[in-house]
Protein backbone atom coordinates (compact mmCIF):
# COMPACT_ATOMS: atom_id res chain seq x y z
CA UNK A 1 0.00 0.00 0.00
CA UNK A 2 1.23 3.47 -0.88
CA UNK A 3 1.72 6.01 1.93
CA UNK A 4 -1.10 8.15 0.52
CA UNK A 5 -3.50 5.18 0.59
CA UNK A 6 -2.57 4.36 4.17
CA UNK A 7 -2.99 7.99 5.19
CA UNK A 8 -6.48 8.24 3.62
CA UNK A 9 -7.52 4.87 5.04
CA UNK A 10 -6.40 5.89 8.53
CA UNK A 11 -8.40 9.11 8.17
CA UNK A 12 -11.49 7.11 7.09
CA UNK A 13 -11.07 4.75 10.06
CA UNK A 14 -10.92 7.64 12.53
CA UNK A 15 -13.87 9.57 11.04
CA UNK A 16 -16.04 6.48 10.63
CA UNK A 17 -15.31 5.37 14.19
CA UNK A 18 -16.49 8.78 15.42
CA UNK A 19 -19.64 8.29 13.33
CA UNK A 20 -20.20 4.79 14.81
CA UNK A 21 -19.87 6.18 18.34
CA UNK A 22 -22.25 9.10 17.74
CA UNK A 23 -24.66 6.75 15.93
CA UNK A 24 -24.87 4.38 18.92
CA UNK A 25 -25.25 7.36 21.27
CA UNK A 26 -28.05 8.80 19.14
CA UNK A 27 -29.86 5.44 19.11
CA UNK A 28 -30.47 5.87 22.84
CA UNK A 29 -30.61 9.73 22.75
CA UNK A 30 -32.53 10.54 19.52
CA UNK A 31 -33.39 14.03 20.77
CA UNK A 32 -29.85 15.18 21.53
CA UNK A 33 -29.45 18.02 19.02
CA UNK A 34 -25.78 18.68 19.80
CA UNK A 35 -24.83 15.06 19.13
CA UNK A 36 -26.98 15.02 15.99
CA UNK A 37 -25.29 18.12 14.56
CA UNK A 38 -21.91 16.57 15.33
CA UNK A 39 -22.96 13.33 13.60
CA UNK A 40 -24.12 15.20 10.49
CA UNK A 41 -20.89 17.18 10.28
CA UNK A 42 -18.77 14.00 10.62
CA UNK A 43 -20.93 12.19 8.04
CA UNK A 44 -20.28 14.96 5.52
CA UNK A 45 -16.53 14.96 6.16
CA UNK A 46 -16.41 11.16 5.97
CA UNK A 47 -18.24 11.13 2.62
CA UNK A 48 -15.66 13.55 1.17
CA UNK A 49 -12.67 11.48 2.30
CA UNK A 50 -14.27 8.21 1.10
CA UNK A 51 -14.93 9.80 -2.27
CA UNK A 52 -11.29 10.91 -2.55
CA UNK A 53 -10.11 7.44 -1.54
CA UNK A 54 -12.38 5.58 -3.99
CA UNK A 55 -11.40 7.75 -6.95
CA UNK A 56 -7.74 7.12 -6.27
CA UNK A 57 -7.63 3.53 -4.98
CA UNK A 58 -10.91 1.91 -6.00
CA UNK A 59 -14.23 1.53 -4.22
CA UNK A 60 -14.17 1.07 -0.45
CA UNK A 61 -17.75 -0.24 -0.63
CA UNK A 62 -19.65 -2.26 -3.23
CA UNK A 63 -23.22 -2.96 -4.40
CA UNK A 64 -23.62 0.43 -6.00
CA UNK A 65 -22.10 2.57 -3.25
CA UNK A 66 -19.58 4.06 -5.66
CA UNK A 67 -18.76 3.78 -9.37
CA UNK A 68 -15.68 1.81 -10.45
CA UNK A 69 -12.99 2.55 -13.00
CA UNK A 70 -12.12 0.02 -15.73
CA UNK A 71 -11.29 -2.75 -15.01
CA UNK A 72 -13.64 -3.53 -12.08
CA UNK A 73 -11.51 -2.37 -9.15
CA UNK A 74 -13.39 -4.13 -6.34
CA UNK A 75 -11.25 -7.23 -6.92
CA UNK A 76 -8.00 -5.37 -6.16
CA UNK A 77 -5.85 -6.71 -3.37
CA UNK A 78 -5.04 -6.30 -0.54
CA UNK A 79 -8.22 -7.17 1.32
CA UNK A 80 -8.58 -5.78 4.86
CA UNK A 81 -7.11 -8.81 6.66
CA UNK A 82 -4.05 -8.61 4.42
CA UNK A 83 -3.33 -5.00 5.35
CA UNK A 84 -0.64 -4.84 8.01
CA UNK A 85 0.45 -1.21 8.13
Amino acid sequence: MMPEQIQLLTQIMALEFTAVELNLYLDTHPEDQKALMDYNAIAQELALVKDRYSRRFGPISNFGSAPSQYPWAWVHEPWPWEVTF
Partner: protein
Protein backbone atom coordinates in the same frame (compact mmCIF):
# COMPACT_ATOMS: atom_id res chain seq x y z
CA UNK B 1 -20.80 5.90 45.63
CA UNK B 2 -18.69 8.72 47.05
CA UNK B 3 -20.24 12.09 47.98
CA UNK B 4 -18.30 13.73 45.16
CA UNK B 5 -19.98 11.50 42.64
CA UNK B 6 -23.47 12.21 44.00
CA UNK B 7 -22.87 15.99 43.67
CA UNK B 8 -21.87 15.54 40.03
CA UNK B 9 -24.69 17.23 38.03
CA UNK B 10 -24.49 14.51 35.40
CA UNK B 11 -25.18 11.81 38.01
CA UNK B 12 -27.89 13.88 39.74
CA UNK B 13 -29.77 14.32 36.50
CA UNK B 14 -29.68 10.70 35.56
CA UNK B 15 -30.60 8.81 38.69
CA UNK B 16 -34.35 8.21 38.36
CA UNK B 17 -36.37 9.83 41.12
CA UNK B 18 -38.16 6.63 42.02
CA UNK B 19 -36.07 3.54 41.91
CA UNK B 20 -37.99 0.29 41.88
CA UNK B 21 -36.93 -2.93 43.49
CA UNK B 22 -35.74 -5.85 41.38
CA UNK B 23 -34.68 -3.68 38.46
CA UNK B 24 -31.25 -2.83 37.10
CA UNK B 25 -30.43 0.86 36.61
CA UNK B 26 -27.71 2.35 34.43
CA UNK B 27 -27.15 6.13 34.53
CA UNK B 28 -27.97 7.78 31.19
CA UNK B 29 -24.92 9.37 29.57
CA UNK B 30 -25.13 13.12 28.81
CA UNK B 31 -23.06 14.16 25.79
CA UNK B 32 -20.81 17.12 26.53
CA UNK B 33 -17.49 16.84 24.71
CA UNK B 34 -15.80 14.21 22.61
CA UNK B 35 -12.24 13.36 21.63
CA UNK B 36 -10.81 14.13 18.20
CA UNK B 37 -11.39 11.25 15.72
CA UNK B 38 -7.80 9.93 15.78
CA UNK B 39 -7.58 9.98 19.58
CA UNK B 40 -11.07 8.46 19.91
CA UNK B 41 -10.14 5.57 17.62
CA UNK B 42 -6.90 5.00 19.51
CA UNK B 43 -8.76 4.74 22.83
CA UNK B 44 -11.74 2.75 21.58
CA UNK B 45 -14.26 5.45 22.51
CA UNK B 46 -14.75 9.13 21.66
CA UNK B 47 -16.36 9.73 25.05
CA UNK B 48 -13.82 10.60 27.80
CA UNK B 49 -16.32 9.60 30.51
CA UNK B 50 -16.60 6.07 29.06
CA UNK B 51 -12.87 5.54 28.64
CA UNK B 52 -11.98 2.92 31.28
CA UNK B 53 -8.67 1.30 30.31
CA UNK B 54 -7.76 -2.08 31.72
CA UNK B 55 -5.63 -1.89 34.83
CA UNK B 56 -4.02 -5.26 35.24
CA UNK B 57 -4.11 -6.13 38.93
CA UNK B 58 -0.69 -7.52 39.82
CA UNK B 59 -2.04 -9.40 42.86
CA UNK B 60 -4.19 -11.38 40.46
CA UNK B 61 -1.27 -12.05 38.13
CA UNK B 62 -1.09 -15.71 37.15
CA UNK B 63 1.88 -17.42 38.79
CA UNK B 64 4.95 -17.68 36.59
CA UNK B 65 3.95 -14.73 34.39
CA UNK B 66 6.71 -12.17 34.89
CA UNK B 67 5.87 -9.90 31.95
Amino acid sequence: MSDDKIKDPQVQQIIPQQLRLARAYIPIQMFTTRLEPTEGLRRGTIFPELYMPYQHQPWKKPRGNES
